[in-house]
Symmetry: C2
Subunit: 132 residues, 2 copies
DNA sequence: TAAGACGTTTACGTTAACGTAAAGCAGGTG
DNA sequence: CACCTGCTTTACGTTAACGTAAACGTCTTA
């Protein structure tokens, strides 16, 4: 038997440094569907993972709708063979987007390098000789 | 003497697959400041580079305000020594953000791998023996 | 039992990043 | 000259992703 920890809404809010409103909003958007104890939401480890995926997607500039696709991929309940091939092509599309982002990041890093050098040069011209 | 090509607003719109409205909006937001021939905007190569930076930032989930900071770094007109150190720390912050995004991308790629494998497994169970 | 901490729903407000008209000027062409 | 093409400004509309406030339930702790 596996241990099944669960979390309150504020547990997760605190852990990921977001508000409870945000979490409820994600539920409204159909990205989460926690169990309930009466009115109170109860989050499982799976919900926690989904939230993590959402936030990671957000950091990469994905919309919630896009993140939902990612979560749907992660969901092991898509057993329709017909859909699986569609999923595979979506996965491929994602992969290509990530490749583009990787390239963007490398380009950006190179430009930060250049910008930093320009800055340092400008400072050196002001403070000519740093003989200790 | 360097050749100084210039572009119309629709030249750039077409090249980057955005609307002219978008480009004017970026100007409104203070990210671009093209020359004018009367009323008509004339874009230099430098403007083109800035636009490129904005769009790259966008792909990485940056806001326009953040992209403006990137452009300001790129601008060689920040000659105030006092500001340069602030710039350097901003550059550093950017760098760390990019590192985080890199990590996010790698994690995401790993999960796409896993998702793909699950898909393929599911398909193989349906189509058991692929003896040609 | 009153207060405080935590949860809930409902609903209107806000910001960013454009979209979408509407109305008009400027230059070239049949 | 009338028309078309491409540019302009002004201004209101829209969508996503929450923020914020109101009003209420529930538990526990002083």
């Amino acid at each position: 038997m596996s241990t099944k920890p669960h979390y309150s809404i504020s547990d997760l809010a605190q852990e990921f440094d977001i508000t409870t409103r945000t979490i409820r909003f994600y539920e409204e958007a159909g990205l989460l569907l926690p169990e309930r104890n009466g009115q109170t939401r109860i989050y499982t480890d799976e919900d926690r993972v989904k939230l993590k995926l959402i936030l990671r997607g957000k950091r990469l500039g994905f919309s919630l709708a896009e993140s939902r696709e990612l979560i749907d991929m992660y969901d092991p309940n898509s057993d329709n063979t017909r859909q699986l091939n569609a999923l595979l092509s979506k996965i491929q599309a994602r992969r290509e987007q990530l490749e583009r982002q990787l390239e963007d990041i490398h380009l950006m890093q190179a430009e930060l390098d250049a910008a930093e050098e320009r800055c340092r040069d400008a400072l050196n011209l002001t403070q000519p000789a740093t003989d200790h």
